[in-house]
């Protein structure tokens, strides 16, 4: 009799625990979906802002600067000594500024990725960063490049941009090496620098790294970082190329 009663109680506890686990699992999934949605919205807003700034640079500021340059080129100074060369200098500055703004506009715009793909956009970005000759940035591609979904490529591109930005701002590195390895089902991207490195103890406090991690998770990928003080940093991102892989 007592055995039967105890069995009933144990059975109830067992059923309840199972229900509880299912509930908690459901809650966890919902939370993850919600977080993903939030991040996606954030990225969309960010992309929209980038797009607006990019368009503004290209259509408005760029146009005005071009107009100013045109006016300067058609300016007759009447043979005044020194003024001619000064105008030439201003025109040169304006030309450089227009080119920089154009590059900035292209870098911010997602059109480059949508039209030319991730790899081309990355090559363009590296060329831009190599221009001032402050860093030596190399790109190595292994395997046959594959076009992924435009949104996926854009998010991946933003992760790389953020990572490069971190190296430029904080690492004091002279050499950065990007390695893209296209395997059968996944893409392995690594960014290695020879900078000062940092301790990973406070990983959770670094918003930039957390954002990169979240973005990689959103793409069903893995984000890893290896670093210690004085040894440089290696950021690795592993992504499934196809949606179902």
């Amino acid at each position: 009799m007592i055995f039967l009663l105890v069995t009933i109680v144990v059975f109830i506890v067992f059923i309840y625990k199972q229900k509880q686990n299912t509930y908690l699992k459901g809650m966890k999934e919902l939370k993850m979906i919600h977080e993903n949605d939030m991040l996606r919205s954030q990225l969309e807003i960010q992309e929209q802002t980038f797009q607006n700034i990019s368009r503004e640079i290209h259509d408005n500021i760029g146009q005005k600067l071009s107009l100013a340059k045109l006016h300067l080129n058609t300016l007759h100074v009447g043979g005044q000594l020194g003024l001619d060369s000064q105008i030439k200098n201003i025109v040169n500055f304006l030309t450089e500024t227009i080119a920089d703004l154009s590059d900035l506009s292209r870098s911010m715009s997602s059109d480059v990725i949508k039209n030319n793909g991730f790899l081309k956009a990355l090559e363009f970005e590296i060329n831009q960063l190599n221009k001032p000759e402050l860093f030596n940035i190399k790109l190595t591609v292994v395997g046959e490049p594959v076009f992924m979904h435009a949104e996926k490529e854009l998010i991946l591109f933003r992760i790389v941009q953020e990572s490069l930005n971190n190296v430029i701002k904080h690492a004091h590195a002279s050499s950065i090496h990007l390695n893209l390895h296209y395997a059968d089902s996944h893409l392995l991207l690594s960014i290695t620098d020879n900078g000062k490195g940092f301790s990973l103890d406070n990983f959770n406090k670094r918003n930039g790294l957390l954002n990169m991690n979240k973005r990689a998770l959103m793409l069903n990928g893995q984000f890893d970082i290896e670093s210690s003080i004085g040894t440089g940093t290696v950021v690795t991102i592993k992504l499934p190329i196809y949606e179902n892989s």
Binding site: M1, I2, L5, V6, I8, V9, I12, V13, I15, Y16, K17, K19, Q20, Y23, L24
Partner: protein, 219 residues
């Protein structure tokens, strides 16, 4: 025979005493849920009833001790029944009607002139009703959406104690009633020992509930 029975009875008194001490201890604890604050009344009355019974079983018979047993049974049903109603996630009219109907039946049985004849039946009905109410609680917690950490929930341990203790005691009371009807008095002691054991089990579960009351976590 009597010696073994006394050991059981002593053990029951010790467990009720422990239960009383723990119940008093949790009253001022800020983590104790509200429904547990007044629970010390149950082991208090249990202890008050156990003392005369203890004297009776060890030393000398006390006159009119049956009135105390009647009172304790009524209190036992009212208190535990009310407790179950209080902690039920969903209290509906049918359960309340069931509770009061049982209360009327038991009171009538105990107040009747032929109480000696009806006492065992009253015990059986009381405890069977409490076991049933406990089952209602179990079904309701399985259905509810607001999930608790069951093994740290004092109400769960109290109800489990009632369910195990009373679910075990109720058929025993019925058997004793049958034996009394058939004047098989000799077998009584054996079943009484088991009844005492059922109360010990119940109070041990209550102690676990008091311990849980000290730290209640909700998900």
């Amino acid at each position: 025979m009597k010696y073994t029975y006394n050991i059981y009875f002593d053990l029951q008194c010790i467990v009720i005493l422990l239960s009383f001490l723990f119940a008093v201890k949790i009253v001022k604890n800020k983590n104790t849920p509200r429904y547990m604050k007044g629970f010390y009344w149950y082991p208090t009355v249990g202890l008050l009833c156990a003392i005369p019974s203890y004297i009776e079983s060890h030393f000398f018979p006390i006159k009119h001790s049956q009135y105390l047993i009647n009172f304790s049974l009524l209190f036992h049903f009212c208190f535990l029944g009310n407790f179950i109603l209080k902690v039920l996630p969903k209290r509906n009219v049918y359960i309340i009607i069931f509770f009061y109907l049982q209360l009327i039946i038991i009171s009538t049985m105990l107040l009747s002139s032929d109480w000696k004849f009806l006492a065992n039946k009253a015990f059986a009905i009381t405890n069977f009703s409490l076991a049933l109410l406990s089952l209602v609680y179990f079904f309701q917690i399985l259905k509810q959406t607001d999930l608790l950490n069951l093994l740290e929930e004092p109400s769960f341990w109290i109800i489990s104690g009632i369910f195990l203790g009373m679910g075990f005691e109720s058929p025993l009371s019925a058997v004793i009633d049958y034996l009394t009807d058939n004047t098989l008095i000799l077998q009584h002691k054996y079943f009484f020992r088991l009844i005492v054991a059922s109360y010990i089990i119940m109070h041990l579960f209550f102690i676990k509930a008091y311990l849980c009351s000290i730290k209640v976590k909700r998900i």
